[in-house]
Amino acid sequence: MKYLVCVKQAPDTAELPKVKAEEAASGELSIQLVVNPWDEHALESAIQSSEDYGGSVGVITVGGEKAIDALRSGLAMGCAEATLIEDTEADAWGVATLLAAAIEQMGDVDLVFTGQLTVDGNSGMVPIALARKLGWPVLTGVAKIIEVTDDSIVVERVVGEARLTVKTQAPAVLSVIKEIGEPRYPTFIKIRKAARVKIPTLTASDLGVDAPAPVVQMDNYRKPPARDAHVQLFDNASDLVDALLAEKVL
Protein backbone atom coordinates (compact mmCIF):
# COMPACT_ATOMS: atom_id res chain seq x y z
CA MET A 1 0.00 0.00 0.00
CA LYS A 2 1.44 3.35 -0.99
CA TYR A 3 0.00 6.50 0.54
CA LEU A 4 0.80 9.96 -0.75
CA VAL A 5 0.00 13.14 1.18
CA CYS A 6 -0.33 16.42 -0.72
CA VAL A 7 0.63 19.36 1.47
CA LYS A 8 0.95 23.09 0.98
CA GLN A 9 3.19 25.53 2.74
CA ALA A 10 0.90 28.20 4.17
CA PRO A 11 1.03 31.00 6.71
CA ASP A 12 1.09 30.20 10.41
CA THR A 13 -2.52 30.85 11.37
CA ALA A 14 -1.50 33.07 14.29
CA GLU A 15 0.18 35.42 11.80
CA LEU A 16 -2.55 35.51 9.13
CA PRO A 17 -3.92 38.88 10.28
CA LYS A 18 -0.49 40.38 9.52
CA VAL A 19 -0.69 39.53 5.80
CA LYS A 20 -0.69 42.79 3.83
CA ALA A 21 -2.75 43.30 0.70
CA GLU A 22 0.33 43.85 -1.48
CA GLU A 23 1.95 40.69 -0.10
CA ALA A 24 -1.15 38.66 -0.91
CA ALA A 25 -1.15 40.10 -4.43
CA SER A 26 2.50 39.27 -5.07
CA GLY A 27 2.57 36.03 -3.08
CA GLU A 28 5.74 37.27 -1.34
CA LEU A 29 4.83 36.90 2.33
CA SER A 30 7.00 38.18 5.14
CA ILE A 31 5.34 36.04 7.83
CA GLN A 32 6.15 32.59 9.18
CA LEU A 33 5.24 29.72 6.83
CA VAL A 34 4.34 26.26 8.08
CA VAL A 35 2.48 23.20 6.84
CA ASN A 36 -1.15 24.14 6.16
CA PRO A 37 -2.92 22.97 9.37
CA TRP A 38 -5.54 20.89 7.53
CA ASP A 39 -2.70 19.04 5.78
CA GLU A 40 -1.15 18.11 9.13
CA HIS A 41 -4.28 16.05 9.78
CA ALA A 42 -3.85 14.44 6.36
CA LEU A 43 -0.24 13.55 7.24
CA GLU A 44 -1.34 12.08 10.57
CA SER A 45 -4.11 10.07 8.99
CA ALA A 46 -1.92 8.61 6.23
CA ILE A 47 0.87 7.72 8.66
CA GLN A 48 -1.63 6.16 11.08
CA SER A 49 -3.17 4.16 8.21
CA SER A 50 0.25 2.87 7.17
CA GLU A 51 0.82 1.73 10.76
CA ASP A 52 -2.59 0.05 10.94
CA TYR A 53 -2.69 -1.53 7.49
CA GLY A 54 0.92 -1.57 6.30
CA GLY A 55 2.62 0.33 3.52
CA SER A 56 4.65 3.49 3.21
CA VAL A 57 3.84 7.19 3.05
CA GLY A 58 5.21 9.83 0.72
CA VAL A 59 4.66 13.57 0.86
CA ILE A 60 4.50 15.97 -2.07
CA THR A 61 4.00 19.67 -2.59
CA VAL A 62 3.80 22.25 -5.33
CA GLY A 63 5.55 25.49 -4.51
CA GLY A 64 8.75 27.48 -4.49
CA GLU A 65 12.14 26.29 -3.27
CA LYS A 66 11.28 27.18 0.33
CA ALA A 67 8.34 24.76 0.31
CA ILE A 68 10.95 22.07 1.00
CA ASP A 69 10.54 22.98 4.68
CA ALA A 70 6.93 21.77 4.56
CA LEU A 71 8.15 18.47 3.10
CA ARG A 72 10.72 18.12 5.88
CA SER A 73 7.92 18.54 8.43
CA GLY A 74 6.14 15.63 6.75
CA LEU A 75 9.30 13.52 6.79
CA ALA A 76 9.81 14.34 10.48
CA MET A 77 6.31 13.11 11.24
CA GLY A 78 7.04 9.76 9.59
CA CYS A 79 6.84 9.99 5.80
CA ALA A 80 9.48 7.92 4.03
CA GLU A 81 10.02 10.08 0.96
CA ALA A 82 9.25 13.54 -0.34
CA THR A 83 8.88 15.27 -3.71
CA LEU A 84 8.89 18.96 -4.57
CA ILE A 85 7.22 20.14 -7.74
CA GLU A 86 8.66 23.57 -8.31
CA ASP A 87 6.03 25.98 -9.57
CA THR A 88 4.73 29.23 -8.14
CA GLU A 89 2.36 30.27 -10.93
CA ALA A 90 -0.23 27.49 -11.01
CA ASP A 91 -3.75 28.06 -9.66
CA ALA A 92 -5.98 25.28 -8.30
CA TRP A 93 -6.39 23.56 -11.67
CA GLY A 94 -2.68 23.91 -12.40
CA VAL A 95 -1.69 22.44 -9.03
CA ALA A 96 -4.07 19.52 -9.56
CA THR A 97 -2.63 18.91 -13.04
CA LEU A 98 0.97 18.91 -11.77
CA LEU A 99 0.15 16.65 -8.81
CA ALA A 100 -1.72 14.24 -11.07
CA ALA A 101 1.22 14.05 -13.48
CA ALA A 102 3.61 13.28 -10.61
CA ILE A 103 1.26 10.63 -9.21
CA GLU A 104 0.95 9.00 -12.62
CA GLN A 105 4.71 9.03 -12.97
CA MET A 106 5.10 7.34 -9.55
CA GLY A 107 2.65 4.73 -10.78
CA ASP A 108 2.18 2.91 -7.47
CA VAL A 109 0.11 5.30 -5.34
CA ASP A 110 -3.01 3.68 -3.84
CA LEU A 111 -4.42 6.46 -1.69
CA VAL A 112 -3.89 10.20 -1.84
CA PHE A 113 -4.56 12.19 1.34
CA THR A 114 -5.10 15.95 1.39
CA GLY A 115 -6.42 18.50 3.85
CA GLN A 116 -9.90 19.83 3.19
CA LEU A 117 -8.69 23.31 2.28
CA THR A 118 -5.78 25.67 2.73
CA VAL A 119 -5.78 28.63 5.09
CA ASP A 120 -4.49 30.96 2.35
CA GLY A 121 -6.32 30.09 -0.89
CA ASN A 122 -9.43 28.85 0.97
CA SER A 123 -11.11 27.38 -2.10
CA GLY A 124 -10.99 23.63 -1.30
CA MET A 125 -10.92 22.89 -5.04
CA VAL A 126 -7.65 20.97 -5.43
CA PRO A 127 -8.56 17.53 -3.99
CA ILE A 128 -11.60 17.23 -6.25
CA ALA A 129 -9.78 18.51 -9.32
CA LEU A 130 -6.89 16.12 -8.64
CA ALA A 131 -9.26 13.15 -8.49
CA ARG A 132 -10.98 14.23 -11.72
CA LYS A 133 -7.63 14.51 -13.48
CA LEU A 134 -6.58 11.04 -12.27
CA GLY A 135 -10.02 9.60 -12.98
CA TRP A 136 -10.19 8.34 -9.38
CA PRO A 137 -13.07 8.66 -6.92
CA VAL A 138 -12.78 11.40 -4.28
CA LEU A 139 -14.16 11.43 -0.75
CA THR A 140 -14.21 14.80 0.98
CA GLY A 141 -14.86 15.60 4.64
CA VAL A 142 -13.28 12.34 5.79
CA ALA A 143 -13.45 12.09 9.60
CA LYS A 144 -12.40 8.47 10.16
CA ILE A 145 -10.66 5.65 8.29
CA ILE A 146 -12.61 2.49 9.03
CA GLU A 147 -10.87 -0.06 6.81
CA VAL A 148 -8.19 -0.16 4.12
CA THR A 149 -7.71 -3.16 1.82
CA ASP A 150 -5.59 -3.59 -1.30
CA ASP A 151 -8.33 -2.34 -3.56
CA SER A 152 -10.85 -0.54 -1.38
CA ILE A 153 -11.34 1.85 1.51
CA VAL A 154 -14.19 2.40 3.97
CA VAL A 155 -14.40 5.77 5.69
CA GLU A 156 -16.75 7.95 7.67
CA ARG A 157 -17.51 11.29 6.01
CA VAL A 158 -19.08 14.41 7.44
CA VAL A 159 -21.40 16.06 4.89
CA GLY A 160 -23.25 19.04 6.26
CA GLU A 161 -24.88 17.82 9.46
CA ALA A 162 -24.91 14.17 8.38
CA ARG A 163 -22.34 11.41 8.86
CA LEU A 164 -22.00 8.83 6.10
CA THR A 165 -20.15 5.54 6.10
CA VAL A 166 -18.97 4.95 2.54
CA LYS A 167 -16.86 2.45 0.65
CA THR A 168 -14.99 3.13 -2.55
CA GLN A 169 -12.35 1.54 -4.70
CA ALA A 170 -8.64 2.29 -4.41
CA PRO A 171 -6.88 4.17 -5.88
CA ALA A 172 -8.79 7.16 -4.55
CA VAL A 173 -8.31 10.70 -3.24
CA LEU A 174 -9.40 11.61 0.31
CA SER A 175 -9.68 15.07 1.83
CA VAL A 176 -9.73 15.00 5.60
CA ILE A 177 -10.98 17.14 8.47
CA LYS A 178 -9.46 17.67 11.88
CA GLU A 179 -11.57 15.00 13.54
CA ILE A 180 -9.47 12.34 11.83
CA GLY A 181 -6.70 12.83 14.39
CA GLU A 182 -4.32 15.33 15.92
CA PRO A 183 -0.91 15.42 14.23
CA ARG A 184 1.84 13.67 16.16
CA TYR A 185 4.88 15.59 17.34
CA PRO A 186 8.05 14.62 15.51
CA THR A 187 10.82 13.28 17.72
CA PHE A 188 14.23 14.90 17.77
CA ILE A 189 15.74 11.87 16.04
CA LYS A 190 13.15 11.99 13.26
CA ILE A 191 13.73 15.71 12.72
CA ARG A 192 17.47 15.04 12.40
CA LYS A 193 16.81 12.20 9.99
CA ALA A 194 14.37 14.28 7.95
CA ALA A 195 16.97 17.01 7.52
CA ARG A 196 19.25 14.53 5.74
CA VAL A 197 16.71 13.08 3.28
CA LYS A 198 17.45 14.06 -0.29
CA ILE A 199 14.34 15.60 -1.82
CA PRO A 200 14.00 15.42 -5.60
CA THR A 201 12.73 18.54 -7.33
CA LEU A 202 10.58 18.18 -10.43
CA THR A 203 9.32 20.77 -12.85
CA ALA A 204 6.34 20.71 -15.21
CA SER A 205 8.67 19.80 -18.08
CA ASP A 206 10.17 16.90 -16.06
CA LEU A 207 6.62 15.66 -15.70
CA GLY A 208 5.86 16.23 -19.36
CA VAL A 209 2.87 18.48 -18.74
CA ASP A 210 1.90 22.07 -19.27
CA ALA A 211 0.06 23.35 -16.24
CA PRO A 212 -3.05 25.09 -17.58
CA ALA A 213 -2.99 28.89 -17.44
CA PRO A 214 -4.89 30.28 -14.42
CA VAL A 215 -8.63 30.59 -15.01
CA VAL A 216 -9.42 32.65 -11.90
CA GLN A 217 -8.22 36.24 -11.95
CA MET A 218 -7.98 38.10 -8.65
CA ASP A 219 -7.90 41.84 -8.45
CA ASN A 220 -8.22 44.70 -5.97
CA TYR A 221 -6.53 42.94 -3.04
CA ARG A 222 -7.51 44.69 0.16
CA LYS A 223 -7.89 44.26 3.90
CA PRO A 224 -11.51 43.81 5.01
CA PRO A 225 -13.02 46.81 6.77
CA ALA A 226 -12.22 46.68 10.47
CA ARG A 227 -15.12 45.87 12.79
CA ASP A 228 -16.65 48.91 14.38
CA ALA A 229 -15.09 47.87 17.63
CA HIS A 230 -16.51 49.87 20.48
CA VAL A 231 -17.69 47.41 23.05
CA GLN A 232 -20.54 48.55 25.22
CA LEU A 233 -20.29 46.85 28.61
CA PHE A 234 -23.22 45.98 30.84
CA ASP A 235 -23.37 45.14 34.52
CA ASN A 236 -26.30 42.79 34.26
CA ALA A 237 -27.73 40.25 31.86
CA SER A 238 -31.17 41.85 31.66
CA ASP A 239 -29.82 45.12 30.21
CA LEU A 240 -27.74 43.12 27.73
CA VAL A 241 -30.80 41.19 26.55
CA ASP A 242 -32.68 44.50 26.15
CA ALA A 243 -29.86 45.85 23.98
CA LEU A 244 -29.95 42.72 21.79
CA LEU A 245 -33.72 43.03 21.42
CA ALA A 246 -33.28 46.69 20.43
CA GLU A 247 -30.71 45.58 17.80
CA LYS A 248 -33.35 43.13 16.49
CA VAL A 249 -30.91 40.22 16.59
CA LEU A 250 -33.09 38.21 18.99
Partner: protein
Protein backbone atom coordinates in the same frame (compact mmCIF):
# COMPACT_ATOMS: atom_id res chain seq x y z
CA UNK B 1 -26.49 36.95 -18.37
CA UNK B 2 -28.17 33.59 -17.90
CA UNK B 3 -27.52 31.85 -14.60
CA UNK B 4 -28.20 28.22 -13.70
CA UNK B 5 -28.51 27.60 -9.94
CA UNK B 6 -27.93 24.22 -8.29
CA UNK B 7 -30.68 23.53 -5.76
CA UNK B 8 -29.16 20.90 -3.49
CA UNK B 9 -31.57 18.38 -1.99
CA UNK B 10 -31.35 16.08 0.99
CA UNK B 11 -33.97 13.41 1.53
CA UNK B 12 -36.27 15.02 -1.04
CA UNK B 13 -36.11 18.48 0.60
CA UNK B 14 -34.13 21.52 -0.51
CA UNK B 15 -31.01 22.47 1.43
CA UNK B 16 -32.00 25.91 2.76
CA UNK B 17 -28.91 27.84 1.66
CA UNK B 18 -29.64 26.86 -1.97
CA UNK B 19 -32.45 29.44 -1.91
CA UNK B 20 -29.86 32.08 -1.01
CA UNK B 21 -27.89 31.20 -4.16
CA UNK B 22 -31.13 31.48 -6.14
CA UNK B 23 -31.89 34.83 -4.48
CA UNK B 24 -28.45 36.16 -5.38
CA UNK B 25 -28.81 35.00 -9.00
CA UNK B 26 -32.21 36.72 -9.27
CA UNK B 27 -30.68 39.96 -7.98
CA UNK B 28 -28.24 39.86 -10.93
CA UNK B 29 -30.52 38.87 -13.81
CA UNK B 30 -34.05 37.73 -14.50
CA UNK B 31 -32.73 34.94 -16.74
CA UNK B 32 -32.39 32.36 -13.98
CA UNK B 33 -32.93 28.64 -14.25
CA UNK B 34 -32.53 25.97 -11.59
CA UNK B 35 -31.14 22.45 -11.48
CA UNK B 36 -32.73 20.00 -9.05
CA UNK B 37 -31.26 16.50 -8.68
CA UNK B 38 -32.50 13.86 -6.27
CA UNK B 39 -35.26 11.34 -5.68
CA UNK B 40 -38.88 12.47 -5.25
CA UNK B 41 -37.89 16.08 -5.75
CA UNK B 42 -40.97 17.25 -7.70
CA UNK B 43 -41.99 19.54 -4.83
CA UNK B 44 -38.54 21.11 -4.70
CA UNK B 45 -38.66 21.74 -8.45
CA UNK B 46 -42.07 23.42 -8.13
CA UNK B 47 -40.78 25.48 -5.22
CA UNK B 48 -37.77 26.63 -7.29
CA UNK B 49 -40.29 27.92 -9.84
CA UNK B 50 -42.33 29.62 -7.16
CA UNK B 51 -39.18 31.29 -5.88
CA UNK B 52 -38.39 32.76 -9.28
CA UNK B 53 -36.56 30.29 -11.53
CA UNK B 54 -37.97 30.52 -15.08
CA UNK B 55 -36.97 27.00 -16.06
CA UNK B 56 -36.29 24.12 -13.70
CA UNK B 57 -34.27 21.15 -14.95
CA UNK B 58 -35.10 18.08 -12.90
CA UNK B 59 -33.32 14.75 -12.63
CA UNK B 60 -35.54 12.65 -10.41
CA UNK B 61 -34.24 9.14 -10.06
CA UNK B 62 -33.67 6.53 -7.34
CA UNK B 63 -29.96 6.47 -8.26
CA UNK B 64 -29.80 10.17 -7.28
CA UNK B 65 -31.31 9.79 -3.80
CA UNK B 66 -27.94 10.65 -2.24
CA UNK B 67 -25.35 13.05 -3.59
CA UNK B 68 -22.80 11.12 -5.66
CA UNK B 69 -20.18 13.34 -7.24
CA UNK B 70 -19.60 11.20 -10.35
CA UNK B 71 -23.32 11.09 -11.15
CA UNK B 72 -24.23 14.64 -10.17
CA UNK B 73 -21.25 16.17 -12.05
CA UNK B 74 -22.23 14.31 -15.23
CA UNK B 75 -25.85 15.43 -14.85
CA UNK B 76 -24.84 19.03 -14.18
CA UNK B 77 -22.52 19.15 -17.21
CA UNK B 78 -25.34 17.86 -19.42
CA UNK B 79 -27.82 20.43 -18.14
CA UNK B 80 -25.26 23.20 -18.31
CA UNK B 81 -24.81 22.65 -22.04
CA UNK B 82 -28.55 22.08 -22.60
CA UNK B 83 -29.49 25.31 -20.78
CA UNK B 84 -26.85 27.43 -22.53
CA UNK B 85 -26.31 29.27 -19.23
CA UNK B 86 -23.32 31.64 -18.97
CA UNK B 87 -22.91 31.00 -15.28
CA UNK B 88 -23.54 28.19 -12.79
CA UNK B 89 -24.03 28.96 -9.12
CA UNK B 90 -24.33 26.88 -5.94
CA UNK B 91 -24.26 27.40 -2.20
CA UNK B 92 -20.83 26.66 -0.75
CA UNK B 93 -21.87 23.55 1.16
CA UNK B 94 -19.60 20.50 1.07
CA UNK B 95 -21.58 19.02 -1.80
CA UNK B 96 -21.94 22.35 -3.62
CA UNK B 97 -18.18 22.87 -3.42
CA UNK B 98 -17.43 19.33 -4.68
CA UNK B 99 -19.87 19.65 -7.58
CA UNK B 100 -18.51 23.00 -8.76
CA UNK B 101 -14.90 21.82 -8.47
CA UNK B 102 -15.62 18.71 -10.54
CA UNK B 103 -17.66 20.47 -13.23
CA UNK B 104 -15.22 23.39 -13.30
CA UNK B 105 -12.14 21.23 -13.66
CA UNK B 106 -13.76 18.99 -16.27
CA UNK B 107 -14.63 22.06 -18.38
CA UNK B 108 -11.40 23.89 -17.43
CA UNK B 109 -13.61 26.73 -16.23
CA UNK B 110 -12.69 28.73 -13.15
CA UNK B 111 -14.68 28.58 -9.91
CA UNK B 112 -15.16 31.65 -7.73
CA UNK B 113 -15.26 29.71 -4.47
CA UNK B 114 -17.01 30.61 -1.21
CA UNK B 115 -17.93 34.16 -2.25
CA UNK B 116 -19.34 36.65 0.24
CA UNK B 117 -21.09 38.46 -2.59
CA UNK B 118 -21.51 38.34 -6.36
CA UNK B 119 -22.08 41.16 -8.80
CA UNK B 120 -22.36 41.42 -12.55
CA UNK B 121 -20.12 43.58 -14.70
CA UNK B 122 -21.90 43.24 -18.04
CA UNK B 123 -21.75 39.50 -18.72
CA UNK B 124 -18.88 39.05 -16.29
CA UNK B 125 -19.56 37.58 -12.87
CA UNK B 126 -17.47 39.25 -10.15
CA UNK B 127 -17.06 37.40 -6.86
CA UNK B 128 -16.11 39.02 -3.58
CA UNK B 129 -13.75 36.34 -2.25
CA UNK B 130 -12.20 36.15 1.19
CA UNK B 131 -8.70 34.66 1.11
CA UNK B 132 -6.09 34.20 3.82
CA UNK B 133 -8.97 33.06 6.03
CA UNK B 134 -10.88 36.31 5.72
CA UNK B 135 -7.84 38.53 6.26
CA UNK B 136 -7.74 39.66 2.61
CA UNK B 137 -10.59 40.35 0.20
CA UNK B 138 -10.33 40.23 -3.59
CA UNK B 139 -12.59 40.78 -6.57
CA UNK B 140 -12.36 37.57 -8.57
CA UNK B 141 -13.43 36.82 -12.12
CA UNK B 142 -13.07 33.71 -14.23
CA UNK B 143 -12.13 32.87 -17.75
CA UNK B 144 -13.18 29.72 -19.50
CA UNK B 145 -16.26 28.41 -21.27
CA UNK B 146 -18.64 29.10 -18.36
CA UNK B 147 -18.42 31.06 -15.10
CA UNK B 148 -18.86 29.05 -11.91
CA UNK B 149 -19.26 30.32 -8.37
CA UNK B 150 -20.24 29.19 -4.89
CA UNK B 151 -21.80 31.50 -2.36
CA UNK B 152 -21.08 31.24 1.36
CA UNK B 153 -24.19 30.29 3.36
CA UNK B 154 -25.96 33.33 4.88
CA UNK B 155 -24.18 35.70 2.47
CA UNK B 156 -27.40 36.55 0.60
CA UNK B 157 -31.12 36.76 1.28
CA UNK B 158 -33.04 33.67 0.12
CA UNK B 159 -35.36 33.93 -2.88
CA UNK B 160 -38.90 34.12 -1.49
CA UNK B 161 -41.88 32.12 -2.80
CA UNK B 162 -44.05 34.22 -5.12
CA UNK B 163 -46.51 31.66 -6.43
CA UNK B 164 -44.98 31.86 -9.91
CA UNK B 165 -44.48 28.64 -11.81
CA UNK B 166 -41.60 27.50 -13.98
CA UNK B 167 -41.23 25.38 -17.07
CA UNK B 168 -40.27 22.03 -15.62
CA UNK B 169 -37.86 20.15 -17.88
CA UNK B 170 -37.36 16.52 -16.98
CA UNK B 171 -33.83 15.41 -17.85
CA UNK B 172 -32.66 11.82 -18.29
CA UNK B 173 -30.01 10.85 -15.73
CA UNK B 174 -26.52 10.68 -17.23
CA UNK B 175 -25.44 7.12 -17.95
CA UNK B 176 -22.59 7.00 -15.45
CA UNK B 177 -21.89 4.27 -12.92
CA UNK B 178 -21.28 5.33 -9.32
CA UNK B 179 -18.09 4.23 -7.58
CA UNK B 180 -19.05 5.05 -4.00
CA UNK B 181 -21.25 2.74 -1.95
CA UNK B 182 -23.03 4.43 0.96
CA UNK B 183 -23.29 1.91 3.78
CA UNK B 184 -24.80 4.07 6.48
CA UNK B 185 -26.34 7.54 6.82
CA UNK B 186 -26.67 9.18 10.22
CA UNK B 187 -28.60 12.43 9.96
CA UNK B 188 -28.46 15.20 12.54
CA UNK B 189 -31.00 14.97 15.34
CA UNK B 190 -34.29 16.62 14.49
CA UNK B 191 -34.35 20.23 15.59
CA UNK B 192 -30.56 20.57 15.66
CA UNK B 193 -29.59 23.87 14.05
CA UNK B 194 -26.50 23.85 11.84
CA UNK B 195 -23.83 26.38 12.71
CA UNK B 196 -23.50 27.65 9.16
CA UNK B 197 -27.26 28.30 8.83
CA UNK B 198 -27.87 29.65 12.34
CA UNK B 199 -29.19 33.18 12.99
CA UNK B 200 -27.85 33.04 16.53
CA UNK B 201 -24.89 31.08 17.95
CA UNK B 202 -23.96 30.66 21.60
CA UNK B 203 -20.35 29.46 21.91
CA UNK B 204 -18.25 28.23 24.80
CA UNK B 205 -14.49 28.21 25.31
CA UNK B 206 -11.84 27.50 27.86
CA UNK B 207 -13.87 29.49 30.38
CA UNK B 208 -16.05 26.41 31.01
CA UNK B 209 -13.09 24.36 32.26
CA UNK B 210 -13.89 24.43 35.98
CA UNK B 211 -17.00 22.37 35.16
CA UNK B 212 -17.19 21.73 31.40
CA UNK B 213 -20.32 19.62 31.57
CA UNK B 214 -22.26 22.26 33.50
CA UNK B 215 -20.77 25.04 31.36
CA UNK B 216 -22.01 23.55 28.08
CA UNK B 217 -25.31 22.60 29.71
CA UNK B 218 -25.89 26.28 30.59
CA UNK B 219 -24.77 27.35 27.11
CA UNK B 220 -27.12 24.75 25.57
CA UNK B 221 -30.04 26.01 27.69
CA UNK B 222 -29.45 29.60 26.57
CA UNK B 223 -29.17 28.39 22.97
CA UNK B 224 -32.50 26.56 23.31
CA UNK B 225 -34.20 29.69 24.61
CA UNK B 226 -32.78 31.78 21.77
CA UNK B 227 -33.32 29.16 19.04
CA UNK B 228 -29.57 29.19 18.57
CA UNK B 229 -26.87 26.71 17.54
CA UNK B 230 -24.11 25.78 19.98
CA UNK B 231 -20.55 26.62 18.99
CA UNK B 232 -17.18 26.17 20.67
CA UNK B 233 -13.60 27.35 20.49
CA UNK B 234 -10.78 25.06 19.48
CA UNK B 235 -9.55 25.07 23.08
CA UNK B 236 -12.86 23.61 24.26
CA UNK B 237 -12.87 20.98 21.50
CA UNK B 238 -9.24 19.97 21.99
CA UNK B 239 -9.82 19.63 25.73
CA UNK B 240 -12.62 17.17 24.94
CA UNK B 241 -15.38 19.34 26.44
CA UNK B 242 -17.49 19.13 23.26
CA UNK B 243 -17.46 17.44 19.84
CA UNK B 244 -15.46 18.82 16.92
CA UNK B 245 -18.58 19.48 14.85
CA UNK B 246 -19.25 22.48 17.12
CA UNK B 247 -15.84 24.07 16.49
CA UNK B 248 -15.89 27.59 15.07
CA UNK B 249 -12.67 28.99 13.63
CA UNK B 250 -9.71 28.31 11.41
CA UNK B 251 -9.85 24.51 11.45
CA UNK B 252 -13.56 24.37 12.21
CA UNK B 253 -16.50 26.17 10.69
CA UNK B 254 -16.69 29.71 9.40
CA UNK B 255 -19.97 31.27 10.51
CA UNK B 256 -21.76 34.58 10.06
CA UNK B 257 -24.84 34.69 12.27
CA UNK B 258 -26.78 37.83 13.17
CA UNK B 259 -25.73 37.30 16.78
CA UNK B 260 -22.68 35.48 18.17
CA UNK B 261 -22.44 35.12 21.93
CA UNK B 262 -18.91 34.12 22.99
CA UNK B 263 -18.88 32.70 26.52
CA UNK B 264 -15.50 32.24 28.14
CA UNK B 265 -13.70 32.56 24.80
CA UNK B 266 -10.56 34.68 24.87
CA UNK B 267 -10.61 35.41 21.13
CA UNK B 268 -7.47 33.89 19.59
CA UNK B 269 -7.01 35.01 15.97
CA UNK B 270 -7.85 31.49 14.80
CA UNK B 271 -11.25 31.78 16.48
CA UNK B 272 -11.88 35.31 15.25
CA UNK B 273 -11.25 34.12 11.67
CA UNK B 274 -14.29 31.90 12.03
CA UNK B 275 -16.75 34.38 13.50
CA UNK B 276 -15.71 37.99 13.04
CA UNK B 277 -18.15 38.47 10.16
CA UNK B 278 -21.05 38.03 12.62
CA UNK B 279 -23.37 41.03 12.63
CA UNK B 280 -23.40 41.50 16.40
CA UNK B 281 -20.86 39.93 18.75
CA UNK B 282 -21.39 39.60 22.51
CA UNK B 283 -18.46 38.75 24.77
CA UNK B 284 -18.85 37.25 28.22
CA UNK B 285 -15.50 36.83 29.89
CA UNK B 286 -13.96 37.18 33.32
CA UNK B 287 -10.90 38.86 31.85
CA UNK B 288 -11.67 42.40 30.76
CA UNK B 289 -8.40 42.39 28.75
CA UNK B 290 -9.42 39.37 26.62
CA UNK B 291 -9.02 40.11 22.86
CA UNK B 292 -12.63 39.04 22.24
CA UNK B 293 -13.75 42.40 23.68
CA UNK B 294 -11.91 44.21 20.88
CA UNK B 295 -14.27 42.72 18.27
CA UNK B 296 -17.41 42.66 20.46
CA UNK B 297 -20.31 45.10 20.24
CA UNK B 298 -21.59 44.26 23.70
CA UNK B 299 -20.11 42.54 26.66
CA UNK B 300 -20.26 41.60 30.29
CA UNK B 301 -17.10 41.20 32.31
CA UNK B 302 -18.02 38.27 34.50
CA UNK B 303 -18.10 34.54 35.04
CA UNK B 304 -20.10 32.71 32.37
CA UNK B 305 -21.41 30.35 35.08
CA UNK B 306 -23.29 33.36 36.52
CA UNK B 307 -23.94 35.43 33.41
CA UNK B 308 -25.21 32.72 31.04
CA UNK B 309 -28.03 31.46 33.31
CA UNK B 310 -28.93 35.08 34.12
CA UNK B 311 -29.17 35.84 30.38
CA UNK B 312 -31.30 32.75 29.93
CA UNK B 313 -33.73 33.86 32.65
CA UNK B 314 -33.85 37.41 31.27
CA UNK B 315 -34.41 36.18 27.71
CA UNK B 316 -37.17 33.78 28.79
CA UNK B 317 -39.02 36.69 30.34
CA UNK B 318 -38.65 38.98 27.33
CA UNK B 319 -38.99 36.72 24.26
Amino acid sequence: MQILVFIETDGGAAVASSWEALGKALSLTDQVSALVIGENVGDVAAEAGSRGAKTVYVIDDASRALFDLDLYAADASNVLSQSEADAFLASHTGNGRDLMAAVGFDLQAGVLADCLDLSADGDKLVGLRPIYSGNILVDATTSGPVQLATLRPRAAAPAEPTGASADIVSVTPAAVAGRVEVQKVERAEAGEISLTDANVIVSGGRGVSKDPELGFKLIGELADTLGAAVGASRAAVDAGFIEYKHQVGQTGKVVRPDLYIACGISGAVQHLAGMNASKVIVAINKDSEAPIFSVANYGIVGDLFDVVPAMNEAAKGKL
